[in-house]
């Protein structure tokens, strides 16, 4: 991670995955009330990078997550994936970007309760071409990679919180994304399980050269990252490179 102002994509061409440049996001509440959530944020995430985004609630963390996840477009400025500005992409193109480049891990896991662990992991593969057999194989490989080879047919309610988050991680990596976007991944877990989950995410990040962006309000989680972006009131107030 480095300062977006100082380092243009030209400097490290080929390594830049995602670039935020002077990003603002303003929400309109009613007719005349505008709430600025992000007020000009710039940074770069390289391939295989490990970045923590910290800040208290209301700092603009969630807004930034939505922008990095291509779930939302900035009001002003640019979010570029592989050099392409998301503001210039259509809705279907954004959907494809999310499907092929990004894996989400949420605080509350977001597993579908009526599906088995395997079918939950298959979910993102449904939205891309491929045979059922291939999807199954990939899902089972992903579940095995997160240590749940013996829990494939369990439903979320039959799994512990840590196991559920592992299923969610398997779902995030099953598409071989370039970026894993984890939003408070340990927020609903006890500290030991949280530790395991972070270790798992970090292992994936190093072994598969996947960029990992963790959004958290916990300092000790943030400290593990290679670099940290601290947000306050919609602005970056501190950056620490490890």
């Amino acid at each position: 991670m480095s300062d977006g102002e100082a380092s243009g994509p030209a400097r490290r061409e080929g390594r830049v995955l995602l670039e935020a440049r002077a990003v603002t996001r303003t929400y309109r509440l009613g007719r005349d009330v505008e709430v600025p959530a992000l007020r000009g944020v710039s940074f770069v995430v390289d391939r295989g990078d490990y970045v923590a985004i910290v800040g208290s609630s209301g700092s603009g963390k969630s807004t930034l997550l939505n922008l990095l996840g291509a779930l939302d477009r900035p009001t002003d400025g640019a979010v570029r994936y592989d050099g392409r500005d998301v503001r210039e992409m259509s809705d279907p193109e954004l959907a494809d970007l999310r499907n092929t480049r990004i894996g989400f891990v949420f605080q509350s896991f977001h597993l579908l309760p009526r599906l088995t662990a395997r079918d939950n992991v298959i979910l993102p593969l449904v939205y891309r071409p491929g045979s059922r057999r291939e999807r199954r194989d990939r899902a089972e490989a992903a579940l095995t990679a997160v240590g749940l080879a013996d829990r494939m047919d369990h439903r979320p309610t039959e799994l512990s919180g840590g196991q559920q988050q592992r299923v969610a991680i398997a779902r995030a990596i099953v598409t071989d994304p370039a970026l894993i976007l984890a939003d408070e991944p340990t927020g609903n877990l006890d500290s030991r399980t949280g530790e395991d989950i972070m270790a798992l995410l970090e292992r994936i990040q190093t072994e598969q050269d996947t960029a990992l962006v963790v959004i958290t309000h916990e300092r000790q989680i943030a400290r593990r990252a290679h670099s940290t972006i601290e947000l306050r009131d919609g602005l970056i107030v501190g950056e620490v490179a490890a």
Partner: protein, 398 residues
């Protein structure tokens, strides 16, 4: 996402909510069932009635009072027995081809047995014009007519009811209090009565002259002419019209062919069938509104799921397709089961009720087509709403 994949996802979602899916389906099911069943009954009634008219024989001309326009009040007949002679004089071979009658309902009594029957006061030619065979005894003869003899030819069922286990020939009975003697018994036609026509095996034939005396009239209700062939129907019609216009005004009688009656009656019953189908269609529509309603509930319940799917790469179209398919599967299943029940119901009706039911291809196609269309039409709104959900908002929803 392929349609097959969307279909699988839709089935998963429906299976997760079995009771609700079943109840939603029920609305469409009942609608389709009523369409199929009511159309079957309407069609059955139509072929029953047209069949009954055809059963009178072929190539018949009906000479009826009035100008033959529908929608007019009953017209008093001005036909008399002389009109039959008038026609007979003009038509070649007419003695066996022209018949007239007057109809009344009377109480019949014999040996304490008492039944009500339709009494047809007929000319001697009646059995030949209408192909009625005699089982026993003697038919109404020309001399019975001339002398206004009080003899009666009983339908098979009436004969059995009045004289159970006995030979009725030569026995006495009273018709409307007047004494008659049984001269013959008609052969059984079978088929029984229907709500649309009396049982012909319960008819009683008496000579036209004595019948007119019985009913206190000198009129005929109708005259019938049998053409020798289908090709001769039109020529006979002109002859009959010419003959009658010597005595009657143009609007006092009309000559209608059997085919015309079948056509008109068939048309009326077809309209009846369509009206029945339309009424049943309304219940199908209500079922569709139910589907729409439940799909909207489902969309709002699954907002988080929709947000998640979008985050994982589902396009708007993928979500829309999924919910649309859910609606179509719901109505399609309802349609298929409703069709099965409707057909079973129609077969049951045909078995036990006096109205036969007839299943037609078009009602089946209509019911299935409409139920799928209902799913499509009523699924579009919820499906679009689902597809257009903002993933950020949707994921945040508790």
């Amino acid at each position: 996402m392929t349609v097959r994949e969307a279909f699988r996802v839709a089935m998963q979602a429906l299976a997760a909510n079995r009771l609700r899916s079943a109840l939603t389906t029920l609305g469409v099911l009942i609608g389709v069932m009523s369409v199929v069943l009511l159309v079957a009954i309407g069609q059955g009634a139509r072929s029953e009635i047209t069949g009954a008219i055809e059963g009178l024989g072929s190539n018949l001309l009906f000479v009826l009072p009035g100008d033959g326009e529908f929608g007019q009040g009953p017209t008093r007949s001005r036909f008399v027995l002389d009109d039959v002679d008038l026609i007979e004089r003009e038509l070649p071979g007419a003695e066996t081809r022209v018949a007239g009658y007057t109809v009344g309902a009377e109480a019949l009594q014999a040996d304490g047995a008492r039944v009500n029957a339709t009494v047809l006061a007929v000319t001697a030619s009646y059995p030949r014009v209408f192909n009625r065979e005699l089982a026993r005894g003697q038919a109404v003869t020309e001399s019975d007519v001339v002398t206004a003899r009080r003899v009666a030819v009983l339908g098979a069922t009436t004969a059995e009811e009045l004289f159970p286990g006995q030979d009725p020939i030569g026995r006495n009975l009273t018709i409307g209090g007047i004494r008659y003697r049984v001269s013959g018994v008609l052969a059984r036609i079978g088929g029984g009565g229907s709500p649309f026509g009396p049982d012909q095996d319960r008819n009683v034939l008496v000579p036209i002259t004595s019948g007119q005396r019985l009913f206190g009239t000198d009129r005929l209700d109708a005259i019938f002419v049998r053409a020798t062939s289908t090709a001769a129907v039109e020529a006979d019609r002109s002859t009959v019209e010419r003959a009658l216009s010597q005595r009657l005004d143009e609007d006092e009688f009309s000559v209608i062919s059997q085919d015309e009656i079948i056509g008109v009656v068939g048309d009326i019953l077809q309209i009846l069938t369509i009206v029945l189908a339309a009424i049943a269609g309304i219940s199908l529509l209500v079922g569709g509104v139910g589907v729409s309603n439940i799909m909207l509930v489902s969309v709002s319940e699954r907002t988080r799921e929709i947000g998640l799917r979008k985050a994982l790469g589902a396009r708007t179209r993928d979500i829309t397709t999924q919910f649309l398919l859910e609606a179509i599967v719901l109505t399609g299943i309802g349609g298929a089961i409703g069709l099965g029940l409707g057909i079973s119901g129609a077969l049951l009706v045909a078995q036990f009720a006096p109205v036969p039911a007839e299943i037609t291809g078009w009602s089946i196609a209509l019911a299935l087509g409409v139920s799928v269309a209902v799913g499509l039409v009523f699924g579009v709104l919820p499906a679009r709403r689902a597809g257009q959900l903002d993933p950020v908002e949707a994921l945040r929803r508790e």
